[in-house]
Subunit: 416 residues, 2 copies
Amino acid sequence: MAIQNVIPCAPNEITEPNNDVSRLDISKLSVTLTESPKPLLPPEVIRLRFGTTFTDHMAIATYDPSTGWSNPEIKPYAPLMLDPSSSCLQISSSVLEGMKAYLGPDGKARLFRPELNMRRLERSAARLALPPVDGDGTLELIKRLVETEKRWIPTLQGYSLYIRPTIIGTQPGLGLLPSEHAMLCIIASPCGPYFPQGLRPISLLAISETVRAWPGGTGAHKICGNYSPGLVPQRAAAKQGYDQVLWLFGEEKRVTEAGVMHFCVVVTRDDGNGESFDCLHGRYVGGGINLVEGCDFITAPLDGMIIPGVTRASCLALVSDPAFNEAAGLNLHPVERTYTIQDLVEWSSQGKLMEALCIGTAAIVVAVNKIGYEGKDVEVPEHEAGLGPVGMALREKILAIQEGREEYEGWSVVCE
Amino acid sequence: MAIQNVIPCAPNEITEPNNDVSRLDISKLSVTLTESPKPLLPPEVIRLRFGTTFTDHMAIATYDPSTGWSNPEIKPYAPLMLDPSSSCLQISSSVLEGMKAYLGPDGKARLFRPELNMRRLERSAARLALPPVDGDGTLELIKRLVETEKRWIPTLQGYSLYIRPTIIGTQPGLGLLPSEHAMLCIIASPCGPYFPQGLRPISLLAISETVRAWPGGTGAHKICGNYSPGLVPQRAAAKQGYDQVLWLFGEEKRVTEAGVMHFCVVVTRDDGNGESFDCLHGRYVGGGINLVEGCDFITAPLDGMIIPGVTRASCLALVSDPAFNEAAGLNLHPVERTYTIQDLVEWSSQGKLMEALCIGTAAIVVAVNKIGYEGKDVEVPEHEAGLGPVGMALREKILAIQEGREEYEGWSVVCE
């Protein structure tokens, strides 16, 4: 009957092999280069304006139910011609992904765990009854676009080429029917570090009047329609002086996501005698000496209301890795669990809340220094570097892998 | 802080007067007629394919934050040129309305309570942080388009010209920001009766695994993103032999909407002695004689999860009207209340469930003959005419008003 929304993002998840009609055949790629390449942007312009300037080309493929995916094309960036009655405009049958390409020290362009994005794109499209998506073929097309636009990838550390694949339903008509026609459109925009003026923590306003995701809804999928409803609450939070919203859920006010990022907290464990050891600073909260229990790295579970994020999965994997912990001088335990704003309040007041982090493709890892809730602020310790030890270690590790400075579990994939 | 989602649709609700920048100035309308008008469609083609053929023209206006709404245009129907990074494609910043124009016996084109659609359009746009919508100006533009396309309004009873206004965010860029640029696009498609082969009841499959709307969500607004998530459950219901889904909500399995229509039931009241009088057929359920208490006309309240529907509001108004009841030989009491699938099961088993109806702009009023729930069907009495007395009286009254054969409370608005 109705579909199951609780789809965890397992790295090893395999979709069924594509039949012919759903295959995107990269061997048939046609490339038409622009005759008037644009000048590259200076880093300060890239830094200040995310996602407003695009590279010279885009990648396109269209799906027709009788012939399947068309031969993919890379061609000059240009407006799309869409019938006004197109499904994507009338009923928002559109899904998206967000990825980044980095230039490594070897001069090669790299993507970060792109197969996770592709599996998610396949699931998102299925959730909206769009035509079957060939994630592997799409990834090949993305790699070709990245190669074509290689000159656009900034070489400065923390800079990258943001890649935005979308699949939009293009079937004309007002009947409420699955769009049998679709377009895959991949555009790219050079992008700087999330915070132009160096790392700085952000503030969150916890809200429950407006709800991002719901059991049985679409919050676990990257469908385009999930994003515009967050604009009004985001604007309201900004008016109150907060950077982003923290989405609470239900009467118990569960903590879910923050803006369009995942939210995690580092909470020091009790030592079994009711005392808490701050493993980050090597001291007990409230004094005492006992076994070092370390810290929990807590984030909400993939219960159907949380996007199965690539950065989220990567942070959880690193936190589970003894080598990562050892190298960073940490003792972290990954915990995917339901927790509430009241838990946050208590951990903060007990001095157990070591760090609060927002993580995602755009920001990678960002510290949170306060969380507004019911007129008060839940305080989170601030760190001089703009990130605490856990946030900093995760951020540096992920950036090093993304930029090809370190190899880790094959996460960084060369485009060639 | 976060916005309040519970916005009832009050007929007398007045929006604030528009300031200049948000005004759509119909006196500046430019009309460019096509040089190659299309042939009209025969009724059998119109009947069979809803929303696939469009009239010769469309109406367009664009919004720029510095200059406000552009001079509106009526021009030949044509594809829209949209930047691939447009807000409407990337984050589904798009809202819609659905209306019908009828040709009256006086040869004049009429709209049905269009001011309700316009107020709702204003609210929908605000929910997605789109530019301010001038509902009154938009209505004038719709009237001009209807006048321009008058030859497309079929003259057969039950036929009409379906009007689809959309407002889409056209700002290019991938930052998650309100779209400061927008386009109003109004297209029209000749449409036949909902059921080509005469009135017939439909079946519903009650589901709760997938959820259409939730408290704090966007279910009370006509945003485009509300519609594509319903496609997969709809397809699953069809595979099980049901026409539409009945959306249940929460652990208590509240009855909310049906597909993209409202759902109402007619339930006979107890007579105070524990017996039920079937006021529709003038007999007691289970025998006995007592005071005629009539029937409740029950539908879910506007609690933030229900679209404030024009047909819904109109049915409730008619049901409240003693003159309507008297003329139809009915004794109905409008009841906006929360009720559950278990209530439906009980009313059905007690013989109290007289009619179940789906109502909306497209279908007007349609009978439901069974509701699948947990492997069984809740039975609803069937009527030879395809609609019971309540459904038929409402449908005929509304159609008579829409087609200008009857005047009622100024509901039918002439386009001139």
